[in-house]
């Protein structure tokens, strides 16, 4: 049994799909045998040749021995093809082994061909009768002209200059898959397959048309086998020679007339007789059978700056290029255009893929650039592919969000069920939320449907649920799960007063304050690309206040520290002047310190490396923070490590900066910033107690005069020592 699926992609598949009796009858005609042999894959051709003079059956094993292990797949393809076309017949002999035998009529015809050489289907007419035979170049030009005229008519009747003789009903047949007409008043537009058709090679287009023609003729009662036989015979004629029309049957005469309109033959009338001359399009039919590359002359040069130069005068080429590029100007023999993102987007929307555009450019590359590898510059091809994938950046699935499960068991059961039918998109077991694809309609398992409905009934609609229980149309948004995060996203994107954003879920609209004043930015949930992009990049860390604090050893920030961090965060987002400075800054920890009974102070520990940056904005920052924490004083201290004195055994030298005394001195300097310490005195009392006096520079007297107690309190808390701050009276 053939293992390869038959897809009617080309003519040979059509032949292969004919019923067995018709196929056998076809093989009586030796041209068909030749044509079919030529259309086989190379390995299959070889097998046929080898088996040509072998009369008895050949075991399959023997055939397999001819192939090396790498080529087994090609071997299978070849054998399947041969069996499909009934060239080889497979039988099981007594030992249940498969043997192959060539089709006898096929064999006889080919043997005759080999021994006697090729026979022509009909003789060309003598040259004394045929006058005014066109030269080969004229014939080519005629064929090209007819074909292009036909194509232009196919796409857009208004554009073609000459009229064609093909009846409008025939045209409609050809246009069946290529054009679609929404309205009778509007001109018909090309469908996706229509665009793909335009970008195909001439031989592929030709075969598409012929295939439509054959299926149409079948409906009119012409025998498919005869038609196919005649077409294949035609391809064995010599281009440029005249053949008498009298040698054709009536049916064939009608067919010849149609083919003349397509440009495959040229009809001419003599004094007494008329004859037809096959053009290159006709004789190349059998080459195109085997999907091989054509030898057409290209005309497009693509440069690395995305400009395109097409040396062509044909209107058809201009139309095709207009599909995906922007034509800038057209000279008598040159079309100049450029490939831009907008023009490509237009093409992608019409359903053309980037691969088709690239292969069209490569196949039609001008001979000058065709020799270069690659014929189309790599940056152009890469960019075309990238622009196409831009449009596919976000994948959207229609989905349902389920929230507020009554119990964990129900949630787990729902998850398992979703996983079973392959529809689980996202779940959050901490918050018990689930996003699933809608149930496929073909599932007729009532049991599963029952479970799904009971789960749905148990859920209570939340405000978020309301949005998603309605089935949004397929282009709408999915899993808008954490709306708070969403709001922060808006903040991050620069909508200043994010807290007052209004989300209108029923109408799927989001209103920002700026918008509500002017109605400028009504972004519907469906269209906001930025938000989508944001949500698909789930791995990106959410920029929240928690970024502003980084505690050592992953400890959780306390509430107070969170408020401090939040204050910093808010400050950054609202205040434009220090926004840029604050962006990279974060704190280590913060603590509240009681100072002299009622007053409190906030001591913020700052990473050592960032202390300079903090000092730069110190006055402003302190002012803002004191506003936020009304009444509390704010002090910044750098985090410094204190190491204990090394024990007898350890070899590590403890740096002086890591000693307790050095750290405490540095801490003192941090506390009194922006004032400077001008001097220190230690006064020893008679009972042994120490009092440390610190003299501050009177320059900063105004700012820090009232903070002296705070300083003392903070230092007392942090180091355990009592200090008295003074401003020296005399200028020393």
């Amino acid at each position: 049994m053939p293992q390869v699926r038959i897809v009617a992609r080309n003519f040979m598949d059509m032949v292969a799909s004919l019923p067995a009796s018709k196929l056998d009858k076809l093989y009586d005609n030796s041209f068909i045998c030749e044509a079919i042999l030529r259309s086989l894959p190379p390995l299959a051709k070889k097998y046929v040749l080898q088996l040509l003079y072998i009369d008895g059956p050949v075991t399959a094993k023997l055939l397999e021995e001819w192939v090396i292990p790498d080529g087994v797949s090609k071997h299978k393809v070849a054998i399947d093809r041969l069996i499909q076309l009934r060239v080889l017949s497979e039988t099981l002999d007594r030992k249940k082994e498969a043997t192959y035998r060539l089709n006898p009529t096929f064999q006889i015809n080919l043997q005759k061909h080999i021994l006697h050489g090729g026979i022509l289907p009909r003789e060309p007419m003598p040259s004394n009768v045929t006058v005014r035979l066109p030269s080969l170049e004229d014939l080519d030009a005629y064929a090209v002209q007819q074909w292009e005229c036909f194509l232009l008519h196919l796409i857009n009747s208004a554009e073609a200059e000459k009229s064609t003789n093909i009846s409008s009903s025939m045209m409609k047949v050809f246009q069946r898959c290529l054009l679609s007409q929404k309205d009778d008043r509007e001109p018909p537009k090309l469908t996706e397959s229509g665009f793909q058709f335009l970008l195909m090679e001439t031989s592929a287009q030709l075969w598409y048309i012929i295939r439509e023609y054959i299926s149409n003729s079948e409906e009119h009662g012409v025998d498919t086998a005869d038609l196919i036989a005649f077409l294949l015979e035609l391809s064995f004629h010599v281009t440029g020679e005249a053949y008498n029309v009298n040698t054709l049957t009536d049916v064939q005469r009608r067919i010849i007339k149609d083919l003349a309109d397509l440009g495959l033959v040229k009809l001419q009338q003599g004094r007494k007789e008329s004859w037809f001359i096959p053009t290159k399009l006709a004789t190349n039919l059998s080459i195109s059978l085997a999907d091989s590359s054509s030898r057409k002359q290209g005309f497009v040069v693509v440069e690395t700056n995305f400009r395109m130069y097409a040396y062509s005068t044909s209107k058809l080429h201009c139309e095709i290029l207009r599909l995906f590029s922007r034509i800038e100007y057209q000279l008598p023999n040159l079309i100049v255009g450029s490939i831009t993102k907008e023009s490509l987007n237009k093409a992608f929307e019409s359903g053309i893929t980037s691969e088709q555009i690239i292969s069209f450019l490569q196949q039609n590359a001008h001979p000058r650039v065709a020799e270069k590898i690659p014929s189309v510059p790599e940056n152009v091809t890469d960019q075309i592919r990238l622009w196409e994938s831009d449009l596919n950046r976000v994948e959207m699935d229609p989905a349902h969000l389920y929230d507020e499960f009554p119990s964990r068991d129900v949630f787990e059961a729902a998850c398992d069920f979703a996983r079973e039918y392959g529809g689980l998109l996202w779940e959050n077991s901490k918050k018990m939320r689930l996003v699933v694809k809608p149930l496929p309609p073909s599932r007729n398992s009532h049991h599963h449907c029952a479970i799904a409905t009971t789960i749905a009934q148990q859920l209570q609609p939340t405000w978020a649920n309301l949005a998603h229980h309605k089935e949004f149309p397929s282009r709408s948004v999915i899993s808008l799960v954490q709306l708070e995060e969403y709001l922060q996203v808006l903040e991050f994107l620069g909508h200043n007063t994010a807290k007052s954003v209004r989300v209108d879920v029923e109408n799927s609209q989001i209103w920002t304050p700026a918008a509500s004043e002017q109605r400028l930015r009504t972004r519907t949930l469906q269209r906001s690309k930025i938000i989508f992009r944001f949500f698909t990049l789930r791995s990106f860390k959410m920029y929240t206040a928690l970024q502003k604090i980084h505690k050592d050893r992953d400890a959780e920030p306390t509430e107070f520290e969170e408020t401090v961090a939040q204050a910093l965060f808010d400050l950054e987002n609202t205040n434009q002047e220090i926004k840029s400075d604050l962006r990279d800054l974060y704190i280590n920890s913060a603590m509240q310190i009681d100072v002299s009974g009622s007053k409190k102070a906030v001591a913020i520990h700052v990473p050592y490396r960032l202390r300079k940056s903090f000092r730069k904005i110190h006055p402003r920052l302190v002012r803002e923070l004191e506003k936020k924490f009304s009444g509390k004083e704010v002090v910044f201290i750098a985090t410094r490590r204190i190491l204990r004195p090394p024990k007898k055994g350890s070899a590590i030298k403890r740096p002086r900066t890591r000693t307790l005394t050095a750290v405490h001195e540095a801490m003192l300097e941090d506390i009194v910033y922006p004032a400077e310490i001008s001097g220190k005195r230690i006064r020893y009392r008679l009972d042994g107690s120490k009092i440390m006096k610190v003299f501050l520079d009177p320059k900063a007297k105004n700012d820090t005069e009232n903070k002296l107690e705070t300083f003392a309190g903070v230092y007392r808390k942090l180091s355990g020592k009592d200090v008295v701050f003074e401003f020296p009276i005399t200028e020393a």
Binding site: P42, K45, G71, H75, L110, G118, L120, I287, S292
Partner: protein, 268 residues
């Protein structure tokens, strides 16, 4: 060894150059078990089958005589398809007569040996012409149907031809109809990646040709073909043309001599 940068068809379109040995001394001797006419009918059937396989296939036949070589048949030259065989046979007859009439005394080897080097060179020249003709051309290969023994005087010329075929990536297949193996053609097939075959039953020559030599270059990578068994790589000396195992080599041009020479005859 980078070949000429050229665009070739990716499938099985091929250009086959067939070099037929027409040396009457061989065909009439006891060495051959096949008559020339039978041989020709096999070859004609084989050529027809090659042209049948693909519309764009090309076949060129060159006859190797003992005094001269000439083109006998070119399928791309426009001629009546019916009368391919007749044309070929006519030209062959003319060639054989001309060859006999030439009868040079100063021929390289003598009448018993065919001018293989000449026909190889003509084939390679034709292939180069095809390479330069247009953007797309078929993949070329050379098939040598040879029977006469190796002429030692042609050693250098044949080796040069083999190396230039290797450089252009043209495989040389050989089918030996004589009684003994041909060292030159064994080396040729080995170096260029072709197939060397000495059929045992010459009556079924067409079957051998169609099974082994009709495979195009694309399919050769998937099929098991006769592998070379023990290629005779011995060189022959430049002065007497004897095959030698050990000899003297010029340090400048690497030419091989059996006796010590003061002055190298090739480069001096």
């Amino acid at each position: 060894m980078t070949p000429v940068q050229s665009k070739i068809y990716t499938d099985d379109v091929s250009l086959l150059m067939v070099l037929i040995d027409t040396n009457p001394f061989f065909w009439n001797s006891i060495n051959s078990t096949l008559s020339f006419s039978k041989f020709l009918s096999n070859v004609l059937a084989f050529l027809n089958s090659i042209l049948l396989l693909n519309q764009l296939n090309q076949v060129v036949v060159i006859a190797t005589g003992y005094n001269s070589c000439d083109y006998i048949f070119d399928s791309s030259a426009s001629q009546n398809h019916n009368q391919r065989a007749e044309n070929l046979l006519q030209k062959l007859e003319d060639f054989v007569q001309k060859d006999e009439s030439l009868g040079r005394d100063d021929s390289v080897d003598g009448p018993g040996f065919s001018l293989l080097s000449g026909s190889l060179s003509m084939a390679l020249c034709y292939i180069q012409k095809v390479f330069r003709s247009g953007p797309l051309h078929p993949r070329p290969r050379i098939l040598c149907l040879h029977g006469s023994p190796d002429g030692p005087g042609q050693y250098v010329a044949i080796m040069n031809a083999i190396f230039s075929a290797q450089r252009s990536m043209v495989p040389i297949d050989s089918c030996i109809m004589g009684a003994q193996h041909s060292a030159f053609l064994q080396q040729a097939s080995y170096i260029t990646g072709g197939v060397y075959l000495k059929p045992q039953h010459l009556d079924g020559l067409f079957q051998y040709l169609s099974t082994v030599f009709a495979t195009d270059l694309h399919s050769r990578s998937f099929l098991q073909l006769p592998k070379p068994v023990g290629v005779d790589f011995r060189a022959s000396c430049f002065c007497h043309k004897n095959t030698i195992d050990m000899g003297y080599i010029c340090s400048v041009c690497l030419s091989i001599f059996c006796k010590h020479h003061k002055k190298c005859s090739t480069c001096g």
